[in-house]
């Protein structure tokens, strides 16, 4: 007995719990449907059919104006039939509202139904409808997601609402989105209980939900509520062969491009990685290869290549300033006592030549004044030019990039030229007369005066690539000067001197190589370049 009582009690509890659960579930479903219709249906009363033989109607009123359920009467009339009445029940609602319900358990479809609601004999609602077009079904049950075995696909299956005669009239909307995302897609399907979702990302979790509605041909109604979302992850993606091949092609192309760039800049890169150790071999031809580094021997056998190679003059040593002074002084001729220090250094071994030059200097001095001595001077210069070897020994040229030769034609100027240019041997010849000022020995930057004798012209060494100095006549004295391009300052001569020069060439302080054309003697070449 006790066991039987316990069993009965247990069964009762289970049934009660189940019923309570179903009641709770039913209440929740009703609440959901009410909320849906309040939003979707504008007319009152709002009616919906859940099955084949039922109809639920309700209307809403404010709590303040609401009366008891007894005050309301719900009268319904089918076409060609007598009216009937439905009992009204009231339920509280959120937001200070009250809901009044009426539910019919036996209905007729495909025939007009008139509904009238009275409150205390006062008609408050009137509506005519067909029940088969106000279906509001429960959401599909048992929504299940399975894998189809293919990438980016999921199969959704569900259980259609169990309504007889209406299975082929149902249509569904399947909403799917990535988990955590609010942007999803919707696919519609009709009269089916499964759908394959395609185009999904691999290895991604998706949430899917579904709702149902009748298609509207024979039966119609409202969209049901969405089911609870179901989550499932798609299959992990394999390496797409297309992506792999494209990646390989792109990497190959990038590799080729980088190789091309490297090859085009290989010299630059080699210099950076393996910097070339500079060797002076290019400057001293044959010094290492022929003479094994013996500089003295190399010097002894080297030809005037130094003079012939302009590259020699493009060494990286600092250029020394060049000052060329050329004055027509009225004073006494100063004895040529000193040579420019560099010239003296370079020619330290050439004492013979110096003496020779010194002997020449007085002659030069005279030569400036008198034409016969001038001729002798020219001869001397030519003789020197024929033997350009000593020139190569001059270290004065080491620091200069170009030659500047001043051709001075002295006819009437009494004072000898006092050119201060960078010495070569010819310069020494000329300066041996002592016309060089002390300042000019080291200062190579200015050419103060270039014309004491009238005409001056300068010639660049470039114009004589073979370094053959053309003889331009007795009126010219050549001075080969190496200058680094520093400005040459030609100081203006005194007015007396200017008058004396007359038609001579006047170089002003502005080192522009501007020679007044009208003053330039005809036929006198003027080249001045650094």
């Amino acid at each position: 007995m006790t066991n039987n009582n316990l069993n009965k009690l247990l069964v009762f509890c289970v049934l009660f719990c189940a019923q309570k659960t179903s009641i709770v579930h039913g209440a929740q479903a009703l609440e959901t449907k009410v909320a849906l219709l309040l939003h979707a249906e504008p007319e009152n009363p709002k009616c919906f059919a859940e099955g084949m033989s039922d109809l639920t109607c309700f209307w809403e009123e404010d709590e303040e104006r609401a009366g008891s359920a007894d005050q309301y009467s719900f009268i319904y009339t089918y076409q060609n039939e007598n009216s009937s009445e439905c009992s009204v029940t009231a339920l509280p609602a959120a937001g200070g509202k009250r809901l009044y319900f009426c539910r019919l358990s036996q209905t007729q479809l495909f025939v007009p139904l008139d509904i009238r609601v009275f409150r205390d004999d006062l008609l408050i609602h009137n509506r005519s409808l067909f029940i088969e077009v106000v279906f509001l079904l429960d959401p599909p049950a048992n929504l299940t997601l399975t894998s189809t075995g293919m990438q980016g696909q999921l199969k959704a299956s569900w259980l259609p609402p169990s309504l007889k005669y209406m299975g082929d009239s149902m249509m569904y909307e399947v909403s799917y989105a990535m988990a955590g995302s609010h942007i999803g897609k919707v696919e519609a399907v009709q009269a089916s209980s499964e759908l394959i979702l395609r185009g999904l990302q691999s290895g991604t979790k998706y949430k899917v939900r579904i709702r149902v509605k009748l298609d509207g041909i024979s039966y119609s109604g409202y969209w049901s509520a969405w089911t609870d979302p179901v989550l499932m992850e798609t299959m992990p993606g394999d390496l797409d062969p297309l992506i792999v091949s494209l990646s390989l092609i792109i990497s190959l192309v990038l590799t080729l491009l980088s190789l091309l760039v490297l090859m085009s800049h290989r010299r630059f890169l080699l210099k950076k990685i393996w910097p070339i150790i500079p060797t002076p071999e290019s400057k001293f031809q044959g010094l290492f290869k022929v003479y094994g580094g013996d500089f003295q021997e190399w010097l002894g056998h080297s030809t005037g290549g130094l003079w012939l190679r302009p590259t020699y003059f493009y060494s990286e040593e600092f250029p020394a300033p060049l000052e060329v002074l050329s004055e027509v002084s009225l004073g006494p001729v100063l004895p040529s006592s000193a040579l420019p220090p560099k010239a003296s250094e370079a020619l330290g071994e050439e004492e013979d030549e110096d003496k020779k030059l010194k002997r020449v200097d007085p002659a030069l001095m005279e030569g400036w004044r008198e034409t016969p001595q001038e001729h002798w001077l020219m001869d001397q210069l030519r003789a020197i030019h024929k033997h350009p070897a000593p020139w190569t020994q001059s270290s004065l040229l080491e620091s200069h990039d170009a030659y500047v030769t001043l051709n001075a034609q002295n006819h009437s100027v009494e004072e000898p030229l006092d050119d201060i240019l960078e010495e070569t041997l010819p310069l020494q010849v000329l300066f041996a007369s002592g016309r060089t000022s002390s300042e000019s020995r080291s200062d190579l930057g200015s050419v103060q005066q270039s014309s004491g004798s009238g005409r001056l012209s300068s010639q660049s060494s470039f114009e004589y690539p073979n370094h053959t100095w053309p003889s331009k006549g007795p009126g010219y004295t050549y001075m080969a000067v190496a200058d680094s391009g520093v400005s040459m300052d030609y100081s203006p001569m005194s007015s007396n001197k200017i008058d004396d020069i007359g038609k001579g060439v006047i170089y002003t302080n502005e080192y522009k190589n501007e020679i007044p054309a009208h003053r330039r003697p005809i036929g006198t070449p003027i080249h001045f370049a650094f």
């Binding site: 007729q108 495909f110 025939v111 082929d168 041909i217 024979s218």
Partner: protein, 191 residues
């Protein structure tokens, strides 16, 4: 046949006779009809009836149609409907279709507008096609309801063309569809 007669005047004679006999016999033999169970067939008829109803709803003065028409009742109580067997259901459907055919015939004679005539002709054709569909489901043609008494239970009168077409649409959506959807011939195919 002429060539055969010319060339084979001796052999063609019996062959011709045989072919003629077979052709005559073939007309009388009922050919096996495959059941038409696709609900989309009836759905098309329903939609066309609805379109006709919508098109002629705003017809002035009822499109010139006067008089009353006997139409079947369209209400369906599923509980009651399921208690009826297929034959009773078929009887209701076929008698109703017959009434609609008669009414539409009378309407066709009274309208003068060509557009209205085309729509009415289309609906009449659909009613005839439905008869063929019912026949394919082995629902035999039943004679028309003989007595008005029977018709009173399942008929009523309408006095306008729009109401006639409206009832016609409801009838197709309701009883006719229920009958076709649950025809035994279609149930056997689905199971």
């Amino acid at each position: 046949m002429t060539a055969c007669t010319c060339m084979f005047s001796i052999q063609c004679g019996p062959v011709v006779v045989l072919l003629t006999v077979l052709q005559w016999a073939g007309r009388g033999l009922p050919s096996p009809v495959r059941p038409i169970c696709d609900p989309r067939v009836l759905d098309r008829f329903i939609m066309e009836a609805r379109d006709t109803e919508t098109a002629l709803r705003g017809c002035k003065a009822g499109c010139g149609v006067t008089g009353t028409f006997v139409v079947p009742l369209t209400n369906v109580d599923f509980v009651v409907w399921e208690t009826k067997d297929t034959e009773q259901q078929a009887l209701e459907v076929q008698s109703g279709m017959s009434l609609f055919g008669q009414a539409l015939g009378a309407v066709r004679e009274s309208v003068s507008r060509v557009a209205v005539q085309i729509l009415i002709d289309n609906n009449k054709s659909n009613i005839h096609s439905l008869g063929q569909v019912l026949r394919s489901l082995h629902i035999q043609d039943l004679p028309l309801p003989p007595a008005p008494a029977v018709g009173d239970l399942v008929t009523r009168k309408v006095s306008s063309l729009s109401e006639l077409l409206h009832v016609h649409t409801n009838f197709l959506r309701g009883k006719v569809r229920l009958l076709l959807t649950n025809a035994p011939a279609c149930q056997q195919n689905s199971t």
